[in-house]
């Protein structure tokens, strides 16, 4: 069973059509443009979003509303992006964040 809710007794059918591709740690997964990054990752069963700085513990979605900051990842080279509230854009490059993360300048 997939984790995407395609049909729902109250919400009806999911009418979104085209999916885009995003890259997560080098792997390409499908996502809907505009959905939170963390939702797309969950649908692809990627739950570990970062590793903590001191103990290297895995962390995932916790509050899903931009407050707890446990879901931060490196997105297009910028670390500490709250993926539960940051919308997917086509061809985004997302990386599991290690500790406080590293800045990577985008090639200009």
């Amino acid at each position: 069973m997939g984790l995407r809710i395609k049909n729902h007794p109250i919400l009806g059918r999911d009418l979104r059509k085209d999916m885009v591709s995003i890259e997560v740690d080098g792997k390409v997964i499908p996502a809907y443009e505009g959905e939170p990054i963390a939702a797309a990752l969950t649908a692809s069963r990627i739950k570990v979003l970062r590793k903590t700085k001191k103990q290297g513990e895995p962390r995932g979605i916790f509050c899903a509303r931009g407050i707890c900051t446990d879901c931060v990842m490196t997105v297009n080279g910028t670390p500490n992006i709250r993926t539960c509230i940051t919308p997917v854009e086509k061809n985004m490059k997302i990386e599991t964040q290690e500790g406080l993360g590293k800045w990577r300048e985008e090639p200009k």
Partner: protein, 103 residues
């Protein structure tokens, strides 16, 4: 209500998820004399991470209450300062420049 915010008694566990501060660390700080939320925050860093204590503050308050016997009514939450949400410094710098220009 309060009985539900139980805290584990056997194993040491992380309470501040951002700064990875454990329950024992917080308890020790209180035993050493930290008797306000602000003091515990300063000495242990619990609540100083990216989320600014929005998750752990209530857990720390509960321990402080239990260990010192102070009712929550007598505790004040740590001083709340902006930014209330993570914001990039260059954005703040831009905002600062804008207000300089206005003047």
């Amino acid at each position: 209500m309060e009985r539900r915010t139980q805290i584990n008694e056997e194993k040491d566990i992380i309470l501040c998820r951002c700064e990875e501060v454990t329950q024992k660390t917080i308890e020790k700080a209180i035993e050493k004399g930290d008797d306000t939320l602000d003091n515990v925050k300063r000495s242990t860093r619990a609540g100083m991470g990216l989320c600014q204590g929005r998750t752990c503050q209530r857990l720390v308050a509960k321990i402080l209450k239990d260990k010192t016997g102070k009712p929550l009514e007598e505790l004040t939450p740590p001083t709340s300062r902006p930014p209330f949400r993570p914001i990039k410094l260059d954005l703040l710098a831009q905002e600062g420049n804008k207000s300089v220009e206005r003047k």
